[in-house]
């Protein structure tokens, strides 16, 4: 099932390497451990699902992997960079050029049109022709006719398509998706996840997705389970026991 893990020797450096990651949150009276000793490696071009119930710590893990937050302990190496050692600005630069995001709640800016929302990361990265690229992507996700609509005028599925177009706009090396179909009905969810997987394949992007949807998870090349902050990889465990 997983060829990559079998060829351990002379493989290229992993896209993401996490070592003994622990994250604690200080509450008023005591400290809550959200993630506990998480270690994993994800190779370039892989698609990985992290599955777990609500409150299991999966979204926190995603944020830490993407460098949106810094862990209490442990290291995260993203595309060769130790992100826990980078400054906020260096992390921002890394995100601008190497990382894309898709959120459960879409996170489109209501003041901007669909086109402008997709242009935003391109502008931040200093792209030459942000509008052309954004237009092209929106056409690719089937919204070529709705470029100037504001998010309010779009359905949930359409909003998530805009978000996917935005995520792929800056040609990211790795894409993080947080419950991308969580706010959508089955059918729309299906078509959105089709789109996500297709684009991911086309662009050769590494995909890290957090979901509680087993079907969506099954479409990824690897799956991790997370429960009470502890990460396990069932397939790997299976392999070892075989």
């Amino acid at each position: 099932m997983n060829q990559m893990t079998n060829v351990k020797a002379d493989r290229p450096a992993p896209m993401l390497r996490v070592d003994n990651l622990t994250h604690r949150v200080r509450l008023e009276t005591d400290t809550l451990t959200i993630l506990q000793g998480v270690s994993l490696e994800i190779n370039r071009g892989e698609s990985v699902a992290i599955v777990g119930r609500s409150g299991s710590g999966k979204t926190t893990l995603l944020g830490l992997l993407a460098g949106l937050d810094t862990p209490s302990d442990g290291t995260v190496e993203l595309d060769g960079a130790m992100i826990s050692q980078l400054s906020e600005d260096e992390r921002a630069k890394l995100r601008a050029h190497r990382v894309g995001f898709v959120f459960q709640s879409f996170q489109l800016l209501p003041a901007l049109s669909a086109l402008e929302n997709v242009m935003l990361p391109l502008e931040l990265a200093g792209s030459e022709a942000p509008e052309d690229r954004a237009r092209e992507l929106l056409e690719r996700v089937g919204l070529g006719e709705r470029l100037n609509h504001s998010p309010r005028q779009l359905s949930g599925g359409e909003q998530q398509r805009v978000a996917i177009a935005r995520a792929f706009a800056s040609d990211p090396a790795i894409l993080f998706a947080d419950e991308p179909t969580g706010n959508l009905d089955n059918r729309t969810g299906q078509s959105v996840s089709d789109l996500l997987m297709e684009l991911n394949r086309e662009q050769g992007t590494t995909l890290v997705m957090v979901t509680h949807d087993e079907h969506l998870a099954a479409r990824c090349s690897r799956q991790f389970h997370i429960e009470a902050g502890v990460l396990t990889e069932p397939s790997a465990v299976e392999e070892l026991t075989h």
């Binding site: 921002a92 995001f101 996170q107 242009m119 391109l122 502008e123 200093g126 509008e131 800056s170």
Partner: protein
């Protein structure tokens, strides 16, 4: 409904930013209006009572015909509860050990002065004392100079007509003294009961009877209504407000305070409107949810109305809690400036405008958007309805604008003020429309990039609707604040220009033509050069176009100038502060014509070319009116109703000369030497009058500064309200930008730039609109002249750009310090 009510409690409300802004704005509005109203009432009382002392009463009735008024006029006044007093003024020769001297006698009754105090000195080197009544019968108080002129000592007797009166004290200052040029000679004050026994007043003597009245304003007004039909042309009824010097200062101060009050209310109203609109938008989800749970529209309406009432109560109570200590502080300040205790007078009427402000602010500005919450569809729970946000904004604006002008009209009572503000606002909105169009057209071309400038411009374009409406509010706020600062500045400058540091504070009168040079040399030697000298000829205006003037002029007009001798002069150059309003000033070599003061010309109905005949001694002079000019009566310089050209109608008439000059208080002893060298020349000391005017100006200035501070606070609240209206969106945008890889520094720079641009544009527009409003106000309300105010035009846009840039930076604070993930979750 208990849970829903709990949802609506004010305490919970306070946690909402928009509600906090509404409440703070309400508190500021109520506090400002209450403070201004209370303080204006207090100032009015203080100023009037302090100005009243210039008359030694609230009103004076002067009989210039040499006859006493019928006794029942006084008994009528007394029966109405007014205090009365009486004085007789005449000139006479008095004799002392060292010779004789022409003096101006003021004989006063026991009640004198009804207002103010008399300053006396027991002997030349003794400290000055303030007393509340004049000399008792048998005694006189004399001007200190007279002591030397007549070689008298305190305790000696002074011969006044048939009587020898004991010099018991020196008269340093009378509350109503020295304002009229007729007081030519040194003063002697005696008791009115001694007048008859001196035998000085004979049939036909030049004597003036003056009656003093004091009491409640409305009673005085009623009494005047009774008195007016009985008055003859030679009677002159004078109140503080008729006195030319103070009335304008008082009126301007009052108007300024009212203007300030109106503007503060305007600003607070803007803040209330913006914040409650924002609040209503944010409440839509809650309302939709409540409706889903079965609350009907009417129930929603009631819930929010109840909440509005609670806000109102909080605003009024909070506002008064701010206003009362502030008012107390201002009252303390006032008594310090005046160097006397000022009664803390809490006028209940003054609180009415404050309540009204709260009511109008809430119902005209906060209610409309909140009322529409009833119409939020329950469907919103599932999906937001397009177009909801913009609905009703125009109606809201219309109601708000009407309410604003209603309020301003109510406070300032000046339609011209309303019109000026309206003109400024109309210009502002027109300019904004144009700028908005330009902005959209220009910024459309800008495309983003990593550069903060481009990102800022793109930001402006992206938020074009929000940017324009924010700009409109900022520009309006700045316009109102700048208008106030400008009006204040020009008001204070005007006052200072009228009474500069070394304004002339002494007049020399009755200088014989052959003494002019010597007098000039005397003061030149002592480093106090004289101002322009003017010849003065005393004469009456007797005929108008050949007809006796009293018949030619309507009987309804009671014109003091016709009943006394006027000071006529000739001059070649128009005095600097005079202005020709009709006709031409005398040209080189002109010998014909007379120039008439504008107000008198209007009262007499004079037109250019009318022929005026003056009786000077036994001579008659007739000249055509060749020009009409305005005169600054409060300039403390010699001013004349009638001016002739040199070698014109007044040639060969018996003239004396008059001048004014500045003498510092530590040089006043020079006056003694002067009086000894020139015994016939009268010195009119008005330094104490100038001191008093400057004191009044100072106290009004302080009040104005205090109120200006309140208003600027209101302006800041407006800015905060508007900026925080987009806070949520901007923070989310900031968090997202960071997630998508925007650097902190880029975010900070582009946001600050975007806000700075917004502030700069708004500043330019606001200042331009303020200049228009000030231009209109200057002409209509404050009678000043207009000039550009570079000291405000340049810094305001800069300051507003800076302030807004930092507001923007401040908004970003949570975005910068928290991990983007946490923020996105929190803002979801």
């Amino acid at each position: 409904m208990a849970a829903a009510r709990k949802l609506m409690s004010v305490r919970r409300d306070w946690r909402e930013r928009d509600v906090r802004v509404v409440l703070v704005a309400l508190i500021i509005a109520v506090a400002t209006v209450a403070t201004i109203a209370l303080f204006a009432a207090q100032l009015q009382r203080t100023l009037v009572s302090s100005a009243s002392s210039f008359l030694a009463a609230d009103r004076q009735l002067e009989a210039e015909n040499g006859r006493e008024i019928p006794p029942d006029w006084l008994t009528e006044a007394q029966s109405r509860g007014l205090e009365t007093g009486r004085m007789v003024e005449f000139s006479t020769m008095v004799f002392g050990a060292g010779g004789f001297q022409l003096v101006s006698v003021k004989a006063v009754s026991d009640e004198y002065p009804l207002r103010g105090q008399i300053e006396t000195q027991a002997a030349p080197e003794q400290p000055r004392e303030l007393v509340r009544s004049g000399p008792p019968p048998g005694e006189v108080w004399i001007n200190p100079r007279l002591l030397r002129l007549l070689e008298l000592e305190i305790g000696d007797s002074l011969e006044v007509g048939n009587r020898n009166l004991k010099v018991s004290s020196l008269l340093v200052r009378e509350p109503d003294g020295g304002f009229r040029l007729s007081a030519l000679a040194p003063r002697v004050m005696m008791h009115v009961d001694d007048v008859t026994s001196t035998g000085v007043i004979q049939e036909g003597s030049r004597v003036e009877y003056v009656y003093l009245f004091a009491g409640d304003d409305t009673v005085i007004e009623d009494y005047y209504q009774w008195l007016e039909p009985r008055l003859e042309p030679s009677h002159e009824w004078e109140g503080v407000r008729d006195g030319e010097t103070f009335s304008r200062s008082l009126e301007r101060a009052e108007r300024f305070l009212l203007l300030g009050g109106s503007l503060a209310v305007l600003l607070a109203a803007v803040a209330v409107a913006v914040a409650s609109r924002q609040y209503a938008l944010a409440q839509r989800d809650t309302v939709a949810l409540l409706k889903t749970l079965g609350v009907r529209s009417r129930g929603i309406g009631r819930l929010y109305l109840r909440r509005l009432v609670l806000w109102g109560v909080t605003g009024v109570v909070g506002g008064l809690m701010v206003a009362l200590p502030l008012f107390w502080l201002l009252t303390r300040l006032l008594s310090e400036v005046l160097e006397r205790p000022v009664e803390f007078h809490l006028s209940p009427q003054a609180l009415i405008p404050a309540l009204l402000t709260a009511l109008v602010s809430l119902f005209a500005f906060a209610y409309p958007p909140i009322r529409r919450l009833r119409d939020v569809p329950a469907m919103r729970v599932l999906r937001s309805q397009p177009g909801e946000a913009g609905r009703g904004a125009l109606t809201d604006a219309a109601i708000a604008i009407l309410a604003v002008f209603g309020l301003v009209w109510l406070y300032a009572g000046e339609i011209s003020l309303v019109v000026s503000l309206l003109a400024g606002l109309a210009l502002l909105l027109g300019a904004l429309g144009l700028l908005g169009w330009l902005l959209v057209a220009l910024l459309r071309k800008v495309r983003g990039g990593g550069n903060a400038w481009r990102l800022a411009l793109v930001g402006l374009y992206r938020h074009r609707r929000a940017s324009l409406s924010q700009m409109a509010v900022f520009a309006m706020t700045l316009m109102l604040a700048a208008t106030l600062v400008l009006v204040r500045t020009s008001l204070l400058n005007d006052w200072q220009a009228q009474l500069p540091e070394n304004a002339p504070n002494h007049f020399l009168i009755n200088i014989a033509p052959d003494a002019v040079e010597e007098v000039g040399a005397f003061w030149q030697e002592r480093g106090q050069p004289l101002n322009q000298l003017y010849p003065m000829v005393r004469g009456r205006l007797t005929e108008l176009n050949g007809e006796p003037v009293k018949e030619a002029v309507s009987k309804d007009e009671r014109i003091g100038a016709l009943n006394r001798e006027l000071n006529l002069t000739w001059m070649s150059a128009l005095p600097e502060d005079n202005e020709i309003v009709q006709g031409q000033w005398f040209g080189q070599g002109d010998v014909d014509g007379v120039s008439v003061e504008a107000e008198l010309a209007e009262k007499l109905g004079l037109a250019l070319g009318d022929r005026l005949t003056f009786t000077i001694g036994s001579e008659k002079v007739t000249e055509p009116v060749t020009s009409i000019r305005t005169v600054q009566w409060d300039s403390m310089k010699p001013n004349f109703y009638m001016a002739f050209p040199p070698d014109g109608g007044l040639t060969d008439m018996p003239a004396t000369w008059i001048t004014s000059f500045y003498l510092p208080s530590d040089e006043k002893t020079a006056l003694n030497a002067f009086s000894r060298s020139f015994p016939t020349i009268s010195v009119l000391e008005i330094d104490h009058i100038i001191d008093r005017i400057q004191q009044i100006v100072r106290q009004v200035t302080q009040a104005i500064e205090a109120i200006l501070a309140l208003i600027l606070a209101a302006a800041l609240v407006v800015m905060a309200a508007v900026v925080s209206a987009t806070l949520h969106d901007r923070q989310r945008e900031g968090a997202l930008l960071r997630t998508l890889g925007g650097r902190q520094s880029l975010l900070v720079r582009s946001t600050m730039l975007e806000f700075a641009l917004l502030g700069g544009f708004a500043g330019v527009l606001g200042v331009a609109a303020a200049e228009v409003a000030v231009w209109a106000l200057q002409f209509r309300m404050f009678e000043g002249s207009f000039s550009w105010h570079w000291q405000v035009v340049l810094p305001v846009p800069l300051i507003s750009a800076l302030v807004l840039a930092f507001f923007g930076r401040w908004q970003l604070r949570p975005v910068l310090n928290v991990s983007p993930m946490l923020l996105l979750r929190r803002l979801e």
